[in-house]
């Protein structure tokens, strides 16, 4: 199915919850309301005609100027060989969204990574803790305004400027 058709049918079935279809770009995407994401994904996975068996990717984009963090879901279907991109906008100071773990189990690890690197809280996640960074790390690195902490475990994270090093 074409992404335009997918958007059209989704708009009919979930009237207020999808919006903002961008069809003329390379990867057509549609914006989904954050409260309805689990419902829509479950529908997309199970219904014949769509059959998005696979969550290819779950990642986030940080837009500090627009004060939002955008979660991006790439869904793919092997049987129908089509894909769709869903985006959800979350407020930057309190990003919370429901977890997709019941729909696709792989969301467990993807969401842990997004939590670790962006600070998005996934409600209902069975095991939301940092995955790449150590447990006691402060901050979420992939945010655009991330500043590294001064010290970690007693070791300084700042590198002395080159001139100082040469003079030493």
């Amino acid at each position: 199915m074409d992404s335009k058709e997918i958007y059209a049918s989704l708009e009919k079935l979930f009237p207020a919850k999808v919006s903002d279809f961008k069809g003329d770009v390379m990867e057509p995407y549609l914006t989904v309301d954050s409260a309805a994401i689990v419902e829509i994904c479950r529908f997309l996975r199970n219904s014949p005609g769509y059959r998005f068996e696979v969550l290819s990717d779950l990642t986030a984009l940080d837009w500090p100027k627009e004060e939002k963090i955008q979660i991006v879901y790439h869904l793919f279907s092997y049987s129908q060989n089509h894909q769709i991109v869903l985006k959800v906008d979350l407020p930057r100071d309190n990003p919370k969204i429901a977890t997709l773990e019941e729909v696709w189990k792989v969301a467990n690890w993807f969401e842990r990574e997004v939590y670790d690197l962006f600070g998005v809280i996934f409600e209902g996640h069975s095991d939301l803790r940092r995955i790449m960074l150590p447990e006691d790390w402060v901050g979420h690195p992939l945010r655009k305004d991330y500043v590294e902490q001064e010290e970690y475990d007693g070791i300084s994270t700042q590198r002395a400027p080159l001139v100082e090093k040469l003079l030493r």
């Binding site: 770009v25 990717d57 984009l61 696709w104 189990k105 792989v106 690197l117 995955i131 790449m132 690195p141």
Partner: protein, 379 residues
């Protein structure tokens, strides 16, 4: 550390918590599993990753598109060409750049050679984890020839920085093409020898048949890709189903797991798919070398590469599965976001589920058969 104690018929036993890794001769790279075992039988194996996290995604926001290509090599150093290619495809699609035809053929040749090298390491170390030391060294011997060929093509043995935006960095000379043909002729019977030595071995089969079976539903739900997915019987290969580069013109088969020993989707099936993929790569190489056109190897791409605003998700079929690069551009010469989605990351997520109730030796076989690779997981 709390150990759960169970009373079994009046006999007091405790679960043992062992840490497999991060320094361990057979985890593939720096990985750690916190394993709770009851003697030899595992009750839980929780992966703990992040020892090789190098923040490649954050670096993508600080360097230019051209300058990022060497960083993509390190995203999976055993299959560096594919990461290069995926990123360059994403950048080219964003900017609408055309790749020259000869460049596409050079890309496919380099990638298929890299696929053979990566699979050689994979099956070799897998054999070694099971205990057979000789096939590992034989596989490495063949990989040495490939490394020498790569050195002739692009100057490096492991992290190539060969596939650039718009084509490839250096042209493949006719002498190198002859050497590749010789290698391919030499390599094809080596795979049969390898099979006689290892794949047909009864002990090897007994260790792997029926161990850690991944059903089709699980493979889809946990988003396994590449040989892991094909080992469970799902015939999906990006080179065939979302073709890119010159793959539509090439004729090759996509091997899937056939359960000729044990169950469908067990460790042996995944291993067997990799062996068969090596043979298919040999086919592809032969066709490419015959069909190579003449022409420039790279098209003209501006030095300050500034694609328009947009985003692009490019996938390639890497040895460890579908590697996707999601590149978001905001019109400047630095990418806004580069996201690398690798097959090993999702393969790690299924280990906890598969490891309940198997033995410690099977855990090692499981990790080897999924072909996880620390740089891909941690990026």
């Amino acid at each position: 550390m709390n150990e759960t104690a169970q009373e079994q018929g009046g006999f007091y036993t405790e679960d043992m918590t062992i840490s497999v890794g991060p320094q361990h001769p057979s985890t593939h790279g720096v990985l750690r599993f916190v394993v709770k075992t009851d003697g030899e039988v595992i009750s839980e194996a929780i992966p703990d990753v992040g020892y090789l996290h190098r923040s490649i995604e954050k670096i993508g926001e600080k360097v230019t598109y051209h300058g990022y290509v060497p960083y993509t090599d390190r995203a999976d150093y055993l299959a560096a060409m594919f990461a290069n290619q995926a990123f360059c495809m994403a950048a080219e699609r964003l900017a609408g750049t055309e790749v020259t035809r000869r460049g596409e053929f050079c890309r496919v040749i380099a990638c298929e050679l890299n696929r053979i090298a990566s699979h050689l390491i994979s099956v070799g170390t897998f054999g070694q984890d099971i205990g057979a030391m000789t096939p590992f060294v034989h596989a490495l011997r063949e990989r040495e020839t490939i490394n020498n060929l790569m050195e002739e093509i692009c100057g490096a043995r492991l992290t190539y920085n060969y596939i650039r935006i718009g084509g490839v960095g250096y042209d493949i000379l006719p002498e190198t093409c002859t050497k590749i043909t010789d290698f391919v002729d030499h390599f094809e019977p080596i795979v049969s020898e390898f099979n006689r030595l290892l794949s047909g071995n009864k002990i090897f089969i007994e260790r792997l048949a029926g161990v850690a079976v991944v059903s089709k539903e699980d493979a889809l739900s946990y988003n396994l890709v590449g040989p892991n997915l094909r080992g469970s019987g799902i015939k999906w290969d990006i080179r065939r189903d979302i073709p890119y580069s010159v793959y539509p013109e090439l004729d090759f088969d996509v091997p899937i797991g056939t359960a000729h020993v044990g169950a469908l989707g067990d460790s042996f099936d995944r291993y067997w798919v990799r062996i068969r993929e090596m043979q298919e790569s040999v086919n592809i190489l032969r066709q490419c070398l015959k069909m190579m056109p003449k022409g420039p190897a790279i098209s003209k791409v501006p030095r300050k590469f500034r694609p328009p605003v947009g985003e692009c998700y490019a996938r390639v079929e890497a040895p460890r599965g579908d590697m996707g690069f999601y590149v978001v551009s905001d019109g400047s010469e630095y990418p806004y976001r580069v996201r690398i989605r690798t097959g090993s990351y999702t393969a790690m997520s299924i280990i906890d589920k598969l490891s309940k109730g198997i033995m410690l030796a099977d855990l090692i076989a499981l990790i080897g058969s999924l072909d996880v690779d620390a740089p891909e997981i941690d990026r």
